[in-house]
Symmetry: C2
Subunit: 346 residues, 2 copies
């Protein structure tokens, strides 16, 4: 197990110089077809695989990219975003000889340090920045460090290359769906205001309602968790007269919508008869709960694919030119059974 095959062994076996081996194996010109064949044969016979360490040192590249997740463990556990996102990243990275380093930092400060260390010892060639926050400190940091980076679902004007999936169309479809069902009293349960996507979703919701000429209604801050949905349901539904309750509620993600529905049920309010509830994300769990959850379905896997593509492009870019952003297909409304006609006032 100890002495692995090196380029020297291959050169010796093929009877050529190591530089020729390098050229031949990397499909570079300057090697005759004949010697190339000899070299390839020798390499195969010896089972030669270039050492990443040697390559890294020489090429000044780690062939590794990083993802630092800065959420508390529970959210990560229950959030299906990362599983799919990482899966998508992987499918791009692997064929191109890159690998993904995953780190977790619960504290925001800790997260920054992770990026710093990653950059300092050049462990990665670039990083993903997901779950962007308002005035996210990671952005100036990677800029200062000169660390290639790609942002996920960034706002317009983002100073780094970004991949986005528009939520506007889907949320607008949701509003139209609810309006078409006769709803007039709306409410929105947001995510934590420090995340930009929480604000993005709220804005799309408000804009669509305004365009429909309807009041935006109540807005309560949730936290993307099941418990947050429970709390929101308590705030919006508990102890209120029917006429004071919203009849159509959008929660900023599916998990909180499911929490909301659960608590609503305990309060004796059934969806879709007594009220309509919708989420955002499109997680599998939403197809299992009863009623099944109407939602706006996103595509985290594709987001990962494109993010990885962009990051590698940014890294391998020779000229310093910025890589163009990518927008994947917008998230779309998926109507299930948690939304229905507005209850008739009586």
């Amino acid at each position: 197990m100890s002495n692995r095959v090196t380029i020297i062994d291959v050169a010796a076996k093929a009877g050529v110089a190591i530089s020729s081996v390098s050229s031949a194996l990397n499909n570079r010109p300057g090697v005759s077809e004949d010697t190339r064949r000899r070299i390839v044969a020798a390499a195969k016979e010896l089972g030669f695989v270039p050492s990443l360490r040697g390559r890294s040192l020489s090429a000044k590249r780690a062939f590794t990219v990083g993802l630092v997740v800065h959420r508390d463990p529970y959210v990560l556990e229950s959030d299906p975003f990362f599983g799919s996102f990482i899966g998508g990243i992987e499918t791009v990275l692997d064929p191109r000889g890159y690998a993904l380093i995953l780190q977790m930092g619960s504290e925001p400060v800790e997260t920054l340090d992770r990026y710093r260390t990653l950059a300092a010892n050049r462990r990665v060639d670039g990083v993903f920045i997901s779950d962007l926050g308002v005035d996210d400190p990671r952005v100036p940091l990677v800029l200062e460090l000169g660390l290639p980076a790609v942002g996920v679902n960034a706002d317009p004007g983002f100073p780094l290359t970004a991949v986005r999936q528009s939520h506007v169309e889907g949320i607008r479809e949701l509003v139209e769906h609810l309006v078409g069902l006769g709803h007039t009293r709306f409410a929105h349960v947001t995510g934590p205001h420090e995340f930009i996507h929480a604000g993005q979703r709220l804005r799309a919701w408000s804009d669509a309602l305004e365009d429909a000429g309807l009041p935006v209604g109540e807005i309560v801050e949730g936290d993307f968790t099941y418990d947050g949905g429970v709390a929101a349901a308590n705030g919006l539904l508990a102890g209120r007269a029917t006429r004071d309750r919203p009849t159509a509620v959008m929660c900023s993600n599916d998990l909180s919508a499911i929490g909301f529905l659960g608590r609503a049920g305990e309060l004796g309010l059934r969806a879709p008869d007594d009220l309509s509830v919708a989420g955002f994300d499109g997680i599998e769990l939403g197809t299992y709960v009863r009623p099944t959850l109407t939602t706006v379905a996103t595509n985290p896997r594709l987001l990962g694919v494109e993010a990885a593509r962009l990051l590698l492009e940014t890294i391998e870019r020779i000229d310093g030119m910025a890589v163009a952003d990518v927008d994947i297909e917008p998230a779309r409304l998926v109507v299930r059974t948690s939304t229905g006609p507005a209850p008739r006032p009586r």
Copy 2:
């Protein structure tokens, strides 16, 4: 961003040889206290961080370990095991200068290739082997490759170092709990038989029931998913007379137990009145569903911590001695509201 500070710069600044810088910064003997101070000062002033690439090449170590997840994306998404497991791993790796490479392979064959590649280019110094299968081909593979590895929840006699959390006590407690409630007709919904932990849990269940002098009852194979639980409920409950139905069911994991409960509810059977259902894992979701889920709670985070400790120990072991296995505290029964007294026959 381009020219980073190297050990040569530090040596020049401190007016010493690079070998002295290396010794001083790595707290090796052979450097006078005085020069050490000068070197440390120079390093700090220059903001020197040793290059991982240089170190890797010289030390013949990647300072990286790998985790290859071989599940299909959906299971990964909804399985909280990995989030916590990885979180635990991280807390050990980071302070010791190691990082985690995460890869995903849905096909078993693909997974093996990942390990092979990881080993061939020496991208990692060691790997975790989780979700062990019966006659898992990864075990002979890492053995053949000479790749340090740690198994998670391996069976006795496992040829590699392993970290385990015993499920026996918790499942026995569950059986005693159910027996104490007067149940006599049991059923077990397993995980896929190719995973050893599915078998481990079934065996613990059967043994405990046998010891109690009660019939083991029906055993149906599930697949650890919500849908698998639904299917199992269809098989065990649908279209059966009350006297032919089991009254106490253990599902091999929480997710399938929740699916089982959901389907049971649709069939008009309420837990805990009409039947008792328990899971295994202790996921958060189990505290949210109604009824809340009785389960055997595991500690994936601690499993990750100990697995990482063992792996680093194995890697850094100078003598070839095997590292001793670690058993963390057994998983324990957590009684919630999905289990209750056996329904009175009428």
